[in-house]
Amino acid sequence: MSELDHAQTTRHIRVTVNGVSYERDVLTRTHLGDFLRQELGLTGTHLGCEHGVCGACTIILDGQPIRSCLMLAVQADGAVIRTIEGLAQADGTLHPVQEAFWDKHGLQCGFCTPGMLTTLAAVLEADPTMDETAIREAISGNICRCTGYETIVDAALQAASRMRGGH
């Protein structure tokens, strides 16, 4: 790759992350997860496998939960992104899924948690009527080695209920 010139391996991008816009030069080979973590310092997005299976790197891109290790940073040019750092409101009020994870012991080591929370926030915001089966399917692309998933499911059910206006 020595002949490759700088122009082809570096790009200038603009992204909006958690309501803040950023402009950066990025190496084209850098995946979006690394970009968020290293260039923007948003280390809440975790990398558990970097081959698209564990789901720890999940972020919300233009409204959809996606794996940030499976997208190049350069591809996010112009995108609107939410990460774990942007789920709570500016005044610190937790998102219902965050609140529920705390209530229901939905996390142990916390490493899978950002991916779980972003996935669940995205799918429950789209459809807060999900039942246990739908929730388990929604997080089937997120591996947790600590919890055995049950408390995560319980937390999601509680959050769904709150998001429907229940208690």
Binding site: H46, W102, L107, L117, I135, C144, G148
Partner: protein, 771 residues
């Protein structure tokens, strides 16, 4: 003092930062000027290294250095010390921080590439030319001791590292008089820990070279400090090791690895901060694994199905090295006789070297293995005698009246193994009651419909609260808040919360007023590590002791300040109060007094500081126990197994936080289900790992895992001041055995016999077809 927090489902203090993305795991720590390391690893299971040519890699733009063992000096070439020395091993083999002339498993560290970014380091790692002479690999455990077997290491005469023997009673006599003797051949397969955060090490030397700060994603920061200080010839005070937030451990992160040595050595060599973060591909080949064992056993039972004796032999694969000595096979051995009051036992266990990733404890250590073989034997007795499986257990268990019960085995220090407390039959009965009594009827009905459901059962006893000690300091600050310092770091268990709960009750404050700092060697002098379900017992007891002492001190000083009898004082809401009056003094004021002022002596007989440090020394082990029941359905057309229900009855003594204990159990059970149904670390005949990504190596997912119904029994341990026993592994230990038992029951119309795990759908279809 009432127990307001001890025993309550207190929400975790750890969570607010972790649910908002403010956790700080190793790779999240900002480090100006840090350079990134990629490790060149062996592509061969067994080979000699003739030469390493790093010239092309060194010339690559962005590369700062390529370092081999020769570059890092003598200590990088010497075998690392065994973490638990094993005098019985004639040829003790451990790897050196970087390979020194030979490699013995695919993934062994050979060289470090240091560069401005990880990507560049990986570019250059591919350019390091290592000239290998491949040697035949030893991967077939069953043939390891046969004539002509490949040797796993040129230093060996035989692949046998050593033999452990254990037992008690008149084995020949018991087997001779027994009404029944049955023989079984059983095996278990290896998997990995697969903490969602891989390992990682960062090191920052000070410019003068006199100090080094190390961050490691480890379960044992004090072991890393000890190892590094000895290896580098430095004072322990000059080696600061911090375990930051750690994303799961499950055993393998308790090992001090090659990278834990090599990265700090390289950082000192270069005088620059360095970071290495294991990627998932490396995790499959460079983080320790566990469970390969082959067993031949016999069980003796009386006419009523009471198990009287067990004898057997095991081939235990420990991989290429013994980083943790023989701790792993020892835990297998010492888990006999499980919950069973056997009259006689005789086990021998051959520890074998192979050319695969070294083995050290993975959640449960050797215990799930022993549980699996004992439970398979118990099921066998039940089947042969035509009695319910739970009855074999009830009849064979240590009975409640027998505690403390000496099993006949010897502990690591040579003392008799003695179970402290419990009622194994009652705990089993709780599980059976929760499971319900209609299973047989449902099974018959299902079979009539062509559906195959089965019930599984497995019981276990777990030694918890491993010696030697943990310690804690409690310090009340002048603002009334409490600092709690300990060496017992966590990897997700929630130590901060449970320690704060224990201390809060003693001090009459809320857990939220306590800041717990753990896992930084500069904050607390000594520690061992978070392994073997030991921290609730050792760490928890030390916190309790320090809190009791702090409380006593507060009362003593307050009685002078308030001019009241100590007996009339209570701690409440951050104050020491004279009960029945409005006279009080805050803990903060007392702390301020005891911090002292220039020229003013402290009250006579009172040491400075409203604080106390205590170490709890575990002189005797505590034993948790439990019985699991589960229900599965096997689709005989595809071999698919669906777990329909899973019930756990569990006794880990007094519960500090039932919500967190349940979390440990659930996570542990699912790990065991993974071992039973999904996780298979495959090597080919040349020792090449075949399952090195998460498409090939299957971890349990939310869609396949059942709900886990838990019933607690609380038999306090008399062996520590808070009555607790460990809970970290009790979920995993019986789970695989339980699932396998259920599958065998489901497929009993086909006379299926399950003798190993994991089982795949394809395996089950074969059993159905043979039936």
């Amino acid at each position: 003092m009432g127990a307001r927090y001890f025993g309550a489902a207190v929400k975790r203090l750890e969570d607010p930062k972790l649910i908002t993305g403010r956790g700080q795991y190793l790779d999240d720590i900002p480090m100006p000027g840090v350079l990134h390391v990629a490790v060149v690893r062996s592509p061969h299971a067994h080979a000699l290294i003739n030469a390493i040519d790093a010239s092309m890699a060194r010339d690559h733009a962005g590369v700062v250095a390529v370092l081999t063992a020769a570059d890092l000096g003598e200590m990088a070439q010497k075998p690392m010390p065994m973490m638990a020395p094993a005098p019985m091993v004639k040829t003790p083999l451990t790897q050196s921080p970087l390979a020194n002339g030979s490699v013995h498993y695919v993934g062994e560290a050979v060289a470090l590439v240091v560069a401005e970014s990880r990507a560049v380091a990986e570019d250059a790692a591919a350019m390091v030319m290592v000239d290998y002479d491949p040697l035949p690999a030893m991967v077939d455990l069953a043939h390891a001791l046969k004539d002509g077997a490949n040797l796993a290491n040129k230093a060996l005469q035989s692949n046998l590292a050593g033999t452990l023997k254990g037992g008690f009673g008149d084995v020949a006599g018991v087997f001779a008089k027994a009404a029944h003797v049955f023989k079984e051949t059983l095996s278990l397969h290896r998997g990995g820990c697969h903490a969602m955060e891989c390992r990682g090490v960062m090191a920052r030397p000070d410019p003068a070279g006199n100090r080094i700060d190390i961050w490691s994603s480890t379960q044992s920061p004090y072991m890393v400090r000890r190892a590094l200080a000895l290896c580098l010839g430095m004072d322990e005070a000059s080696v600061r090791v911090t375990a930051p937030d750690v994303g799961g451990g499950f055993g393998p992160k308790a090992v001090v690895y090659a990278e834990d040595y090599a990265i700090p050595m390289a950082a000192r060599h270069l005088g620059r901060p360095l970071k290495w973060v294991e990627d998932r591909g490396e995790h499959f080949v460079a983080t320790t694994q566990q469970r390969d064992q082959l067993w031949e056993l016999e069980v003796a039972a009386d006419a009523q199905g009471r198990m009287l004796g067990v004898r057997g032999h095991c081939l235990h694969d420990n991989g290429a090295y013994l980083p943790y000595g023989v701790v792993l096979p020892v835990t297998s051995m010492s888990s006999f006789p499980g919950p069973y009051a056997l009259e006689a036992l005789e086990i021998s266990l051959d520890v074998i070297y192979t050319n695969m990733v070294p083995n050290t404890p993975v959640r449960g250590a050797g215990r799930p293995n022993t549980c699996f073989v004992l439970e398979r034997l118990a099921d066998r007795v039940a089947r042969e005698l035509g009695i319910p499986r739970e009855d074999v257990r009830r009849r064979s268990f240590v009975q409640a009246s027998q505690f403390p019960y000496e099993t006949g085995m010897k502990a690591r220090d040579g003392s008799p193994v003695s179970y402290d407390s419990g009622d194994y039959v009652q705990c089993l009965d709780l599980a059976v009651a929760k499971f319900g009594s209609d299973f047989k009827a449902r099974q018959d009905k299902a079979r009539a419909e062509g559906r195959y459901i089965g019930m599984g059962i497995a019981s276990y006893v777990e030694d918890t609260g491993l010696a030697p000690y943990e310690g804690a300091t409690i310090r009340v600050q002048p603002n009334g808040k409490v600092l709690l310092l300990t060496g017992a770091a966590a990897q997700g268990q929630g130590h901060k919360t449970v320690f704060a709960q224990i201390a809060a009750d003693q001090l009459g404050i809320s857990p939220q007023d306590i800041t717990v700092e753990a896992g930084d060697t500069s904050l607390f002098p000594l520690g061992i590590g978070t392994i073997a379900s030991r921290v609730a017992v050792t760490g928890g007891s030390s916190v309790h002791m320090a809190a009791v002492e702090t409380r006593a001190k507060a009362i003593k000083v307050a009685s002078q300040v308030l001019e009241a009898q100590e007996a009339d004082l209570v701690l409440e809401g951050g104050f020491v109060k004279v009960s029945g009056t409005d006279r009080q003094v805050s803990l903060g004021q007392l702390a301020l007094m005891l911090h002292g002022n220039f020229g003013q002596p402290l009250p006579a007989g009172i040491a400075p500081g409203l604080s106390a440090t205590a170490f709890y020394e575990a002189r005797q082990t505590t034993f948790a126990n439990g019985t699991n029941l589960c229900e599965v359905e096997v689709d005989i057309e595809t071999g698919a197994v669906k777990i329909l229900r899973y019930v756990v009855a569990h006794d880990c003594g007094t519960l500090i936080n039932p919500m967190l204990v349940d979390g440990q159990i659930r996570g542990g059970v699912v790990h065991g289900i993974g071992n039973a149904l999904f996780e298979r670390m495959i090597y080919d005949e040349n020792g090449q790992p075949q399952t090195t990504n998460y498409g090939e190596y299957l971890l349990p997912l939310a869609t396949e895992m059942p709900r886990i119904e838990i019933v607690h029994m609380e038999s306090p341990s008399p062996r520590n001041p808070i009555g607790v026993k460990g809970a970290g592994e009790g979920g995993t230990i019986p789970a695989a055995a339980c699932v396998i038992s259920a599958i065998e029951d489901a497929l009993s119309p086909f006379n299926a016999r399950l003798k190993s795990h994991p089982v795949s759908p394809q395996d089950l279809v074969q059993l159905v077809d043979q039936g």
